[in-house]
Structures are given as structure tokens and as C-alpha cells.
């Protein structure tokens, strides 16, 4: 069963990987992704970042993305953690860990989950910069990254 958590508190990559692989000798590969808060975005310094989400829909959307990943690749189990609330540069925002029998499936499913999370899961970022607050605009490059998975299976 995939683990999906939306939380204010930080997470520990090592602890999450240990929990995911615990007691499953069929797992031969684990791929992980950690997203971090940068100190500069679109040319402005970022003092803090506030993450808002749509409780209920967020969990459903993430579960749906995991379901799509499982339909395409051999995913034994996975963990997605996304933080909400106020974050600062260098803070961890998001974690995706995918366990599989082989590395190809683990790498591909991890990247797919992140690309779909960026374009389909209802989270919104607001930056506090020296020039004031601003809502982060969605990027065309993220839409392009998600669309490339719609082609033939790699």
C-alpha cells in the first residue's frame, strides 16, 4: 500500500527508505526524489515560501497518480510526502520514494510521479520576497515534462 502524507513537519529520507523496504526481500531497487526550497526564483530573493493545498482532493490526486504509475511500471511500493505551511530556503518540500524489483521501473515511476504531481496535485506556492508577496505562476516547462509521458511507453 502506498504511503501518502501531507504534513507540516519535516521528513527524513533515510527513515522513509528504511520503512519502505523493511521486510520485503523482493525489492531490488529504490529511487527517490527530494524537492527543496531555493533562495532565488524568477530573479527575486525568496525569504519564505507558503504552501497551500486542497485537503481531500490532494490525497485523491496523489493516489490516482500512484495508480497510473503502477499500471505502467513494476512498482512494489512507494511513499509520497508533501509539506504544507511556511517553508524557508534549503527546507525540504516533497519526497517521492519508489521501490521496485529493478532500477528502470524505479527511476521511471519516480520521475513520472513527480512530473504528474507538479501539474495535477492541488498545491499552490506563495513566495515572500523583498518586493512583497507573490503567487508562483505555473510553468509551461512543467506541463511539457508531464506531457512527454503520454507518448509511447519508454
Amino acid at each position: 500500500m502506498p504511503t501518502i502524507r501531507i504534513q507540516v513537519q519535516d521528513f527524513d529520507l533515510g527513515a522513509e527508505v528504511s520503512a519502505l523496504r523493511s521486510g520485503n526481500p523482493g525489492i531490488g531497487a529504490i529511487a527517490s526524489f527530494v524537492g527543496l526550497v531555493r533562495d532565488v526564483n524568477d530573479g527575486a530573493g525568496v525569504a519564505t515560501l507558503t504552501l497551500e493545498h486542497y485537503p481531500g482532493m490532494t490525497e485523491k490526486a496523489l493516489a490516482g497518480i500512484v495508480g497510473q504509475a503502477r499500471a505502467r511500471w513494476d512498482v512494489i511500493d512507494c511513499t509520497i510526502i508533501h509539506r504544507v505551511g511556511e517553508l524557508r530556503p534549503t527546507d525540504q518540500i516533497v519526497l517521492v520514494v519508489v521501490a521496485s524489483a529493478h532500477r528502470g521501473d524505479a527511476f521511471a515511476a519516480c520521475e513520472f510521479i513527480m512530473d504528474y504531481l507538479k501539474t495535477e496535485a492541488p498545491f499552490w506556492k506563495k513566495e515572500q520576497t523583498p518586493e512583497g508577496e507573490r503567487w508562483v505562476e505555473s510553468r509551461e516547462t512543467d506541463a511539457v515534462a508531464a506531457r512527454r509521458w503520454k507518448g509511447p511507453v519508454r
Binding site: L51, P122, W124, V136, S138
Partner: protein, 83 residues
Amino acid sequence: MLKLLLFASLRETLGTREESIAVPAPATVAGLVGQLRARGDAWANALDAGKRWRVAVNQEMASLESPLKAGDEVAIFPPVTGG
């Protein structure tokens, strides 16, 4: 009645997080958006056809043609920017 939810910049611009609203006629997302636009310039501008906003009905992405019924949860929000 429907439950209307607004998020992120739309929530701030329109000063509303959640409200109960009568099922519109026609009972579709387009009918609801038309009714909201008629509230005044702030709503008409925020929900302008040329602006980028999304609608979810009962926590699933929806389109302007999606039907609505009493008890539905309708959310309107800008394109997502998580991760």
C-alpha cells in the same frame, strides 16, 4: 445547495474561502461560473475566459460542461504549483 471552495490567488482576490450557493441554472460548471461572473467586476475579472483557472467537482478535475447537483463540492483554483 452546492459547496463552493476557492483556493490560492482566487481565494485572496475574491475574499472568499468557502460558501454555500444555490444550484445554478443551467446546472453545469458553466452555469455556475456565469452566475459568479454576474456578481460584479472582481468576479467577472477573476473568472475571465482568458484567465487560467481550473474547476474540480467533488475533488475530481472537471470542465465547463460538467453537470452539477445539490450537495456537490465545487472548487475553483489557479493552475497548481506544488512540488
